[in-house]
Amino acid sequence: MAPFDIIALLGKSLGYMVYLLIGVGFGAVLEMSGFGDSRKLSAQFYLKDMTVLKVMFTAIVVAMVLIFSFSSMQFVDFSRVYVNPTYLIPGILGGLIMGIGFVIGGFCPGTSIVALSTLKVDGFMFAIGVAFGGYVFGESVSLFQGFQNSTYMGRFILPELFGISTGLTVLLIVLMALVMFYWAEISESFFGKKISWNDIPKLPKNIVKIIASALLVFVALFTLISGQPTPEERWNWIKNKESKNLVQRSVFVHPGELAEVMNDTLFYSTLLDVRNETDYNLFHLDNAKRVTFSNLHDPAYIKKLIDVPDNTVVVVMSNNETDAVKAWKLLRAQGVMNVYILDGGINRWLKIFPLKPGIATPITVEAKADNEILDYRFTKSVGDTILIASNPFTEMKPTDFKLQFDRKVKMKKKKVITGGCG
């Protein structure tokens, strides 16, 4: 499923050819739109020629509508699309500086390359300037490294900021762009062609523009109505590949291994307990967090599990395994890395690392209709206070337990996609 990593798919030389072709398209379109001409670009700032705004926002809106409608039709997995990470304040300051550079120099880096390609001397001088500015930045960034890395918010998109759906965001941006285009036309007539206000036609008449606008709104509405893929739908994308990890039990960690991981300073373990609140309060592992299935459908919650250091191990657990497996599927479907399941659940854990006598007694469950039942009867809620059971290796050495198990935890790194400007 798209998006593809063309270099992984075709190899480096063919993959590079695709990048080259994309570049050819990029350069040609910019040149055809007049972006190789500094006078046309700078006129944007004097409201005489709104080409920059029109081209840029049309491009953003068209690409956005394509990406998210493809995502809602499940042709593109948006979670694997590179989204420029947000470093808010350095981004804003960098943008202000660039705006100043734009007015003085008449280009942005990409357009100066296009100007240079058509032998414009000012484009050449500007591109040399860009390289020089980048050099000065490289020499000086160590002076303000803290600032440069400040206000980091990771992969942070507008729907999360506004707390609305992706489809609604797409529709609102399309509508905003159409309103902007309307005012851009009026501004060009007024400031550029110096037509008096009363003579400027206020209603759009061009039938092609009206049809194109309607088409954009229609696709945005379609994206809104069909919604973005649910975690369950996304599980179906990876079902064939991931199911064998369940069948071969390569993601089930023995309680002994989990105890090791919990006490290994090289790992950062995140324990997710999907049982009900009562069972969780009766007993849970040291530092285990209770999560509900609605948490596991919440993009904001999942994001916190994705934006983690590479040495993070996520282990999900239920009383037995059924619910933990369900949670595991949801987490994997949403791209959380290094997720494991506690083999045999809390019941098996308590069998191997028993509580002190008198607190929990095993109950014999005759016919288990629901296999997610805690096999112990507790005389009191202990939470994670009974240290030996909730984290056995804090008071005893691993060897004291004489455990035998296969180690399953193998750390995988997130595939890092970098942007075109990286």
Partner: protein, 181 residues
Amino acid sequence: MNNSQVQSSKKRKPKPYINPYLGGALLGLVLFLAYFFTSAGLGASGAISHVQVALLDVFFPHHVDEVGYFAEMAGGKVNPLDSSGVMMLIGTLLGGALSGLIHGRLKIETRKGPNISNKKRWIFAFIGGAIMGYGARMARGCTSGQALSGGAVLSVGSWAFMFSIFIGGYALAYFFRKVWN
């Protein structure tokens, strides 16, 4: 197409630019294809930096290894030109030249306002470029890589960045009106 374009095209004889909305739609399509096939968007300034560091590496390889920012791109045996971004940059040059050739705009000239000399325009272009190059590195991307690409995938930082460019430009436009008008 507006009247001024027709007039200037008669004077210089190059073909007129295409309708900006059509250009934008085509650019959006190229951007979508970039995301579809490479998982990432378009860009230019990063590749310019790679070329700059490659040059620096020829003359001062030790310095490149010492400065962390350069070493990331060209430290030790890493070849800064061996990058997908540089391929895209070469493509951009080819595409621009090709379109310029077809539309009769491939010629040595300096585009400037009527009230300044060529030399002044070149100096302003260099200074503006340097400011923009610096800002682009600070913002981790240029108008194409950050505003255009990040904007299409709804990155909050990219939208904040995009508005900042326009604010910075409009705030200073008055003071540089002689350069352009």
